[in-house]
Amino acid sequence: MPDVVEGKLTFTFPNSWQVVKYDETSFYKKHFQKLGASRCVDIVAFETEVDDQLWLLEVKDYRQNKRTKTEDLFLEIARKVRDTLANLYLAQRHEEADCYDFAQLASRKQTIRVVLHLEQPQKPSKLYPQVVSHTNAQIKLRQVVRVADPHALFCEIAKMPAQCQWTVTSK
């Protein structure tokens, strides 16, 4: 099963999936990293047999890392989605790219899905059980990436939507 480790989180995908940590492809490093501000989402994945969706996953773990200001977080995700899609579009036109085959298959997928996986420490507060509330975050996420995916998903280990076929475990 393809496993992807992001910090303390492990994403386990079913066997029929192809998964790439996009920042680690040499195509990205060669052509995009030098642009400085350009960054990709953490994981790009798709199911190879029946599912016609291309999944772009961004992972944030506020239990481990410093928080990004909420407003900036959503802008950052929108930019990463934009850059990832631009990267995939170019990679499938460059046969020499290490992610050429992956990008070829990915570009044939009908629907683009965007997922923000966010783990937050639980606050001992009645008014703010979570600093970024699940529903508010989902609305904001859909607002910023709706041109790519009007039904973008906000996930955490405790609340995984049924559409997500992968599992997430934490060390």
Binding site: R67, K69, T70, E71, K123, S125, L127, Y128, V131, V132, S133, T135, N136, Q138, I139, K140, R142, Q143, R146, P150
Partner: protein
């Protein structure tokens, strides 16, 4: 029902177009961006459509209605101020069995007349405007007071009192109205009745309650109940409601959203303006749940721009920006987080 509203140089708008859903419509935006202006304009036009007797004096009647509803010093004050000479232009499309259109314009120095373009023909269905303050407790004598004296209140209150004057329906129409009345009366804990010119809540168990003794939030829902019971809100009608959430506890806001979705399901068009993120989310949620029953909702977000207020419309709240109430709530959570981490760090230092 109101199909669309197109305006130019009207109050805070330089150019805006609203395509309404036949079901539930929600207008959001910070204070002063013209939410109530849109509601009042739609209402004035619906009211004229309902009471239209053709082209006779229509120009004067439009001007008169706008002045009574908005209460400016003169009609021309409703023209957007800016460089050059502007004319406010309004075009409204209605839909009953046949489409029906009204268009008119007026200049900054207009007083009592507008220039007519398209003219209304057939009579439209009744329409209702709920202003932010409830009217049920101040109802006794208000209509005659308004008619005989100069009171600094806009005419929406008077119109609402006139609608409340009607007696209750009977027969098959009343039986149909019961579908909406039953859930409403359950929330109210009784039925609303007009007893010698004063409204009371006829409680299910223990007697009656005079309307001024009923909680303010409940009184608004009581008005809705009575207007359904007396046939003022029927299918094809449009209900305009400015900030329906005022005075309501979130517990009742959930019920309010249920009732609004139910009323829309029965064929009454609803156009509301709200500041409440909670109501907004609740309506979005209930519309999504009711989606299978062909329930349509539409959201309009107003935002300031260099060229007046602009509108963004969508079929769910995720499709529109900005949602000020949401941004402010997220900002509040940010400030809380900043405080908590600051206190945490300071505490850490002290311990070290």
């Amino acid at each position: 029902m109101l199909k669309s509203l197109t305006i130019k140089n009207f109050t805070v708008f330089s150019k805006a177009e609203f395509d309404f859903s036949p079901g539930l419509n929600v207008i959001i935006g910070a204070n002063g961006l013209g939410k109530s202006h849109i509601l009042k304009l739609g209402y004035s036009c619906s009211w004229l459509w309902n009471s239209s007797s053709g082209g006779l004096d229509l120009s004067k009647r439009i001007a008169g209605k706008l002045v009574k509803i908005y209460r400016p010093d003169s009609l021309g004050r409703l023209v957007r101020r800016g460089q050059g000479h502007h004319r406010a232009e309004v075009q409204v499309n209605f839909l009953r069995q046949k489409p029906n259109r009204l268009s008119f314009s007026f200049a900054a120095n207009s007083k009592s007349e507008v220039s007519l373009g398209m003219i209304l023909s057939i009579n439209g269905p009744p329409t209702i405007f709920f202003p932010t303050k409830e009217t049920l407790s101040t109802y006794p004598g208000f209509a005659s007071l308004y008619r005989d004296y100069h009171i600094e209140m806009d005419e929406t209150y008077y119109d609402l009192c006139l609608a409340l004057e009607r007696p209750l329906l009977r027969g098959p129409r009343y039986e149909k109205a019961r579908e909406l009345l039953d859930p409403l009366e359950k929330i109210l804990g009784g039925a609303v009745r007009n007893e010698n010119g004063r409204f009371i809540l006829q409680q299910s168990g223990n007697g009656k309650l005079e309307m001024p003794l009923v909680a303010e939030g409940i009184r608004k829902l009581a008005s809705v109940a009575y207007l359904i019971a007396n046939g003022s809100l029927t299918d094809q009608s449009t209900l305009y409601w400015d900030e329906p959430e005022t005075n309501l506890n979130p517990l009742l806001i959930v019920k309010l959203a249920e009732i609004l979705v139910k009323i829309a399901q029965q064929g009454t068009q609803i156009i509301i303006a709200t500041h409440s993120l909670f109501l907004l989310k609740e309506l979005d949620l209930q519309l999504k749940i009711a989606h299978n029953q062909n329930q349509q909702g539409r959201f309009f977000a107003l935002a300031p721009s260099e060229d007046g207020v602009v509108v963004q419309a969508g079929n769910s709240i995720e499709e529109v920006e900005p949602i000020t109430a949401l941004d402010v709530e997220i900002d509040q959570a940010e400030r809380y987080e900043a405080l908590v981490s600051e206190v945490g760090q300071a505490g850490g230092k002290r311990n070290a």
